[in-house]
Symmetry: C2
Subunit: 462 residues, 2 copies
């Protein structure tokens, strides 16, 4: 049977490559083909800032699944090859290779992993002949990173539009390359999709020691000199005042838009986010068609509202689900995305799980926050760690947690596991965390934050 299976995957990013890997793991005999329009096999997009900073020595190092790996796995990988059409009735796709030669291929299962494109804000003069002006970049591909790297020059001025995770990762990277960095964010706080304002403030204080930040500002226009950017003009959203920032390098990091042309044509259903709707098995509304990664819409585990998948970690998990299911076994994801995420910039680790307060507006919640140390007070070398957890006001169920400081990511994983088990704060606060003087205090800040949320919860029950 399985020899007649043909699993076709469009796009060799994290989601697509993982789908291929798990399809192969699940079915050793199935025919598996990937079409990738770009010139590289799967590489870590999240690693790009670190290849620019030099933490990762070479951009080529970011390639996680090499062409050789695909060969060994007997997965047919076609680079520089574009899928131009999906005929979902005939279960057939049309393909155009680098030479312009066109062919068709039939699938038993199709996995769409077309990713996303950088969202380009409406900034005057940003493009010339439909291309970004010299010195202006988005960061999505190895080629983007290569081009940015050439423009990184000590003591020159860099501006980053957007203070999300990627914006701040780039800001930190350019700062560490001794550029003079300014970040511009339209909202009143940095990391608006990731952290609550009070938690973001901890990072802001650190960041202001090293770079310039304008929140509540957006870029309206750029000026060029000799066809290259020389200035970006930003405007205060309240006062309407404008500022001219001398800029040699401009990074646009204002999010992405799902790439869904093919899925649209295939008749896949879309959600209000414009992403391809998928279920717990990564299936779309169309028979035999799965979709994974940044082109998809899933729901939030807590709010059950639709959201775009913008995290490599979720793309990989959807890839596992799509690959396994397409190859005939069952792999079911949780009913929604926890959105566990982390990053590290300006010498601080941050992490979060669950929606930030902005996305919890419709749910009555209570929060507990605790600022402590990673070690018992008497043990030298303890580092600050702040944890905040948010619970449903009426049930006490944990709906979110955020951390800034030592081992923020691993501490947030503990909350993620609690949320997957729908734990109540009354239970979670009693969690026995691992204790030893050189490693962690008897009561870790994760349960101390929960204690504070719990006190508010108890007061409310009265």
């Amino acid at each position: 049977m399985s020899e007649n299976n043909h699993i076709i995957i469009i796009g060799c990013g994290a989601g697509g490559a993982t789908a291929a890997q798990f399809a192969r793991k699940t079915d050793r005999k199935a025919k598996i083909t990937i079409y990738e329009k770009g010139p590289y096999p799967e590489y870590s997009k999240c690693g790009l800032p670190y290849a620019i900073s030099g933490d990762v020595p070479s951009l080529q190092d970011l390639i996680e699944f090499s062409e050789d790996w695909f060969k060994k796995a007997k997965i047919s990988l076609h680079l520089n090859t574009t899928v131009t059409k999906i005929n979902s009735e005939k279960q057939e796709i049309t393909v155009e290779d680098k030479t312009g030669s066109i062919s068709t291929a039939s699938y038993t299962s199709l996995i769409i992993a077309t990713g996303a494109n950088p969202a380009i804000p409406p900034i005057q003069n940003l493009t010339s002949n439909n291309k970004l002006v010299s010195g202006v970049f988005t960061l999505r591909t190895i080629d983007d990173a290569e081009n940015i790297r050439k423009k990184v020059v000590e003591n020159k001025k860099a501006t980053v539009i957007g203070a999300g995770l990627i914006g701040l990762e780039m800001a930190d990277c350019l700062h560490r390359k001794n550029m003079d960095v300014t970040v511009v964010e339209a909202l009143p706080q940095i990391l608006p999709n990731t952290l609550d304002a009070d938690m973001a403030k901890i990072i802001t204080e650190q960041l202001l020691k090293k770079i310039t930040l304008y929140t509540n500002h957006f870029a309206t226009k750029i000026e060029t000199t000799n066809d290259a950017i020389s200035e970006v003009i930003i405007q205060d959203r309240k006062t309407k005042e404008t500022k001219h920032l001398k800029t040699d390098l401009l990074i646009i990091a204002t999010g992405t838009e799902p790439e869904v042309k093919l899925a649209d044509q295939a008749g896949c259903e879309f959600g209000i986010t414009k992403g391809i709707k998928v279920d717990e098995t990564a299936k779309t509304s169309q028979k035999h068609i799965y979709a994974v990664g940044d082109c998809t819409e899933y729901i939030d585990y807590i709010t059950e509202k639709p959201l775009l998948i913008g995290l490599g970690s979720i793309a990989v998990r959807q890839g596992i689900a799509a690959g396994t299911n397409a190859a005939g076994k069952t792999y079911q994801l949780p009913k929604g995305a926890l959105l566990t995420c982390t990053s590290d910039f300006f010498d601080m680790e941050i992490a979060a799980v669950g929606p930030s307060s902005h996305f919890l507006k419709d749910i009555p919640t209570l929060s507990g926050k605790y600022q402590g140390s990673s070690l018992p007070d008497y043990f030298p070398g303890g580092k600050p760690i702040t944890v905040k957890t948010t619970i449903q006001a009426n049930t006490g169920v944990i709906v979110a947690a955020q951390a800034v400081g030592e081992n923020a990511a691993q501490r947030i994983n503990t909350f993620a596991a609690a949320m997957l088990g729908n734990l109540n704060v009354t239970t979670f606060r009693t969690l026995e965390t691992a204790y030893a003087p050189p490693i962690a205090p008897t009561l870790d800040v994760v349960t101390l934050a929960a204690d504070i949320a719990m006190m508010k919860y108890q007061r409310k029950q009265k």
Copy 2:
């Protein structure tokens, strides 16, 4: 009402002091008294090895709740004062102070936190006039640590009996003080109560680069020269062969026995472990009497079998429960102890939650183990981390996890939260862990270990 409350606590260790603290937090007006037979207010027993090694500069640093702290909290602390009798009918105790003066005090609630005494194995010549021979030590008090510290001399020979957590912490500490260290363990593996044999092996390999280890050996006799230890004689349990180990300093780290004389007299019920039986609120069988810490018996969260509390982290949580409940509010611990624990020796962090395989003999289980890196392969600086998780063979529910390597403790906390939520491996393997190249890989070793357990589980279901 609360002004007539008198909460009396016997013993100012981690459990007793925490009980006092939470009684005060819960009831600002209650009268709270602690009697401690030793000369120090609460200090970290777990910190003692690190004060010997010098990681913690001074033994005095280990004091976490100072006399001044108790004064400010309006908790009456009596040091060098022994409770000689509990009259549970009259709700009264008898107390003898340093001068021999005897008095009585009435309680509304009594919290017994009498701790444990080192278990002394039957080794010939170990004592003289009921005291340990010069050069032979247990490690339980600041005075023990002080005395050991005086005997730590570079290039001299130290022997540690018992390869549990404290034994290995001391072995590491003495090795770092440039002593020539030998560890003797009666069982076939190190850390027999904490790790499965395969996980313990990872540490053993590391440890053998630095010290000498005899497993399956026990000490039978010591020889003295000028009234001080000069040699310890050990015997192979199988071959019966004996070895003479030159020894200048001998540490006995073969566990503890609960100190329960007073509780016995008060009529508290005991379990088969000889510890005082307590429930989820830290209550004993006797009205108005709680017990916390190393003197108590609780049940294992997974096996529901009785066990002695030998962890400071649990003592503290029982202290929270006893203090809060004694002062009139409700604090309920989980139905059993997860036994989350960690330590760090020979440059490796270890951690565990749930029973090790030895204690799971009666439950059919399956395990998954994964050895990975703390970072994505392409990111420099990744450190090895091995995680093993064990599940119930028939239900898939996670019953234990162990880790050796980078951030073992925080990774084990994630399993602890999963176990508190009774998560099945089918759910846990889908956990979204926090991912960023400088912090963790897309799929953390915690879920990769779960995947392997899951595969075995699926195979069994067929």
